[in-house]
Amino acid sequence: MEVYKADVAIVGAGGAGLRAAIAVAESDPKLKIALISKVYPMRSHTVAAEGGAAAVTRPDDSLDHHFNDTVGGGDWLCEQDVVEYFVAHAHEEMVQMEHWGCPWSRKEDGHANVRPFGGMKIERTWFAADKTGFHMLHTLFQTSIKYPSIKRFDEHFCVDLVVEDGRVQGVVAIEIATGEFRLIQAKAVIVATGGAGRVFRENTNGGIVTGDGMALAYRHGVPLRDMEFMQYHPTCMPRTGLLFTEACRGEGGFLLNKDGYRYLQDYGLGPPEDKPRNKFMELGPRDRLSQAFWHEQQKGRTIEGPFGSVVNLDLRHLGEAYLRERLPQIYELAEEFMGVDPAHTPIPVVPGVHYTMGGILADGKTASGLPGLYSVGECSSVGIHGANRLGSNSLTELIVFGKVAGDEAAKFAKATSISNPGAIEKQADAIQARALGIVNKADGTERIAVLRTEMAKSMESGCGIYRLGTTMQETCNKIDELKQRYKKLKVDDKSKVYNTDWLLAIELGYLLDVAQVIVYSAFNRKESRGSHQRLDGYEQRDDVNYLKHTLAYYNGDGAPRIEYGDVKITKSKPGTRAYGAAGVKADEERKKQGAANG
């Protein structure tokens, strides 16, 4: 097997992986970086992020505001010290992106512009029209070309981490074009592989978002944290699940039920006003908005049509010119995919799975418990999203913690050396044999698409916007069953060049592991918090028993072992999570209390 000797290997070349690679390159140009991605970097799913990236910018905003929005938005399940670091470093990273050429939308005076976003008290979302993720990704990718120490392994599919002497010392990847294996030796490995939205059926995610890195770290004993918290984005295209950015509402869009009524006012988000008001109505947080859709559906107030039950996203009052300038991609999606002209007709939308709040357990410096292993981005859980992520915090997370991961991995790599290369190569051979075993199996009977569809359907029924113990139990059983059937998977394609069938089979293995973690974590959390809402006697938040992180450990063939970890609270005690007028009242009371105490 071909061996490449790197100092730092990075798996995943989306926003987080690229930012980390640049950070390593800048911290020490002598360090050799291997940047491994199963697609060309600019195909990574960062590309699809639309709305923007949060950073405190305006004089009337403050780090405390951003902190409070994030922690409250996360229903107090955030690591508060990490959030403090995050909000403090957000702005400089935005400026760094600007220096690298990111085409941020501007104000007339030439400064970067900011727009409102859901759950945010003050406008602080930097944006590049409605293609922010696209522009950030391409800017990072193109900037990374400047650094000769970054050696890219494009279209290389990572099949395993190599753990030797109790620490990570490399990865094994398949070169997709040839089907040949490569061992990439490294003193530190950063996993930046993105989320796992593809375990669900109707989702906003690209086909590549299959939880690869999560599954790999998990199989090596690193726990996955808070995986029950899956974000449903309230405004997606029916059936395909494609995303209509929150910026639609930030710019002033309304959500209407079948009576043309702004129903969010019935769910503690009102009163409605004509202009968007931060943390009111359509600018409430995503979990609340998706839950409101569910209630409307129960009440029979959604619109029934060829796409099932939908509500309307009404942008008509914004006018064509403004929509074309601020939301060009949304305009195009509605027109081309749905035949709807949003300047004249409301867009039918439904909630869809969008984001994996949980991930690989990492400390505030992105390090996992396994020495040499770091994780960053959606695959990681550094702890800033808690039980519900605020829109526009994730793009910022990529670059703030991408830099941290790069710096930390560089430091670690410089202080260590590869131990026992012989044993590492032997392990790599074993990994190769296992991966080939999947394609060479003679007696397979199960089809990939069938298992994948059954998994996604079951996850949707068990881990939807609202959850029940009984259906979650069914989903647990179903996923357990699918994992057994996976062992009998049949791969028709036996070739080596671009054998995508083989890769889909390996991805399905990753998906099933992650799906199992999600549903077992959900089943065991007997309360309602953020995006995890139950209807079977656990409708309330339970801070006594569940102000805790879920930690799921790999347990071989069996169900994951679920444990709980403490939540780091520095300055925000869990309080009432309220929006709209009720939120204003809660804020005032908190202030009064603070004054009385202080």
């Binding site: 697609v39 060309y40 600019m42 195909r43 990574s44 799913h45 590309v47 699809a48 400089e92 935005m94 400026v95 600007e98 220096h99 690298w100 050429g101 085409p103 941020w104 939308s105 501007r106 104000k107 007339e108 005076d109 030439g110 400064h111 970067a112 293609k131 696209f134 522009h135 391409h138 193109q142 900037t143 070309i145 400047k146 494009d154 074009a177 690209g206 086909g207 590549i208 059936r239 395909t240 494609l242 995303l243 060829p306 796409f307 195009e332 081309e336 995919f337 749905m338 089809r447 990939i448 698409a449 028709d492 394609d493 070739s495 080596k496 060049v497 671009y498 054998n499 995508t500 069938d501």
Partner: protein, 251 residues
């Protein structure tokens, strides 16, 4: 939209380098609904009819640039081309023209990537600025000068549309020249002189004969033909001034 299932015939140009000497057409019958894209049609084939058909795809929403194909001989993103527009006829899908076929609908993108890496596609600052100094100021109008050219998703449809690239793969080609112009036209950038060496070369702007089809097929309105041809004047001026200016213009 009606939800009754119809059947459409999709012909795929197959090429499996380990068994086919040259590409061959293979036909599949695919049930579809009116909201299904050509990509979903091809996915159906892979999921339920023939697992060995290979193609690239990811975002499904015309932004990742993976799923470009020739659809009835026109370069298109298969995720935003719809089966209903071909029914009741059949449709043919083929790997993007002018690029070598690796397998089935997958082309070899190495040349594109190598060229992308060669043109210094990053800001070479006109004046250095520290993070503490904040962002460079850029008015919306200055941004408009390059924004369109920064919207390229690297889908390579323009390469499949460019006969000059097909005839001479040394030509830098539409997408990459547009990217070069994107940085040259950015008010923050001062790297024009370095990049012009490539732009003014035979394989640069002058390899283009203004066919214009690249701009026609671009799914993102980048207009690479414009990015290229507006530079020919500068290039020509540069060519002649180097005879009269001591030391040459930009070289």
């Amino acid at each position: 939209m009606a939800d009754t299932e119809k059947i459409i015939e999709i012909e795929v140009l197959r090429y499996r380098p380990e068994q086919d000497k040259e590409p061959v057409w293979q036909s599949y019958k695919v049930p579809f609904t009116d909201d299904m894209s050509v990509l979903q049609g091809v996915q159906y084939i892979k999921d339920y009819l023939d697992e060995t058909v290979s193609f690239r795809w990811s975002c499904r929403m015309a932004i990742c640039g993976s799923c470009g194909m020739m659809i009835d001989d026109k370069p298109k993103l298969s995720c935003k081309t719809f089966l209903r527009d071909y029914y009741p006829g059949k449709l043919r899908v083929e790997a993007l023209k002018h690029l070598p076929i690796e397998r089935d609908l997958i082309v070899d993108a190495t040349d594109f990537i190598t060229k992308l890496e060669s043109i210094k596609p990053y800001i070479i600052p006109k004046e250095e600025r520290t993070l503490a100094q904040g962002e460079y100021l850029q008015t919306p109008e200055q941004r408009d000068m390059y924004e369109q050219f920064s919207s390229c998703i690297n889908c390579m449809l323009c390469y499949a549309a460019c006969p000059q690239y097909g005839l001479n793969p040394k030509f830098t080609g539409p997408g990459i020249l547009a990217l070069m112009h994107r940085y040259n036209a950015d008010s923050r950038d001062g790297g024009q002189a370095e990049r012009n060496e490539l732009g003014y070369a035979d394989e640069g702007y002058w390899g283009c004969t203004a066919v214009g089809y690249c701009s026609e097929v671009c799914p993102k309105g980048v207009d690479p033909a414009n990015a290229i041809n507006q530079n020919k004047m500068n290039s020509a001026i540069n060519y002649f001034t180097r005879f009269v200016t001591p030391g040459g213009a930009d070289k």
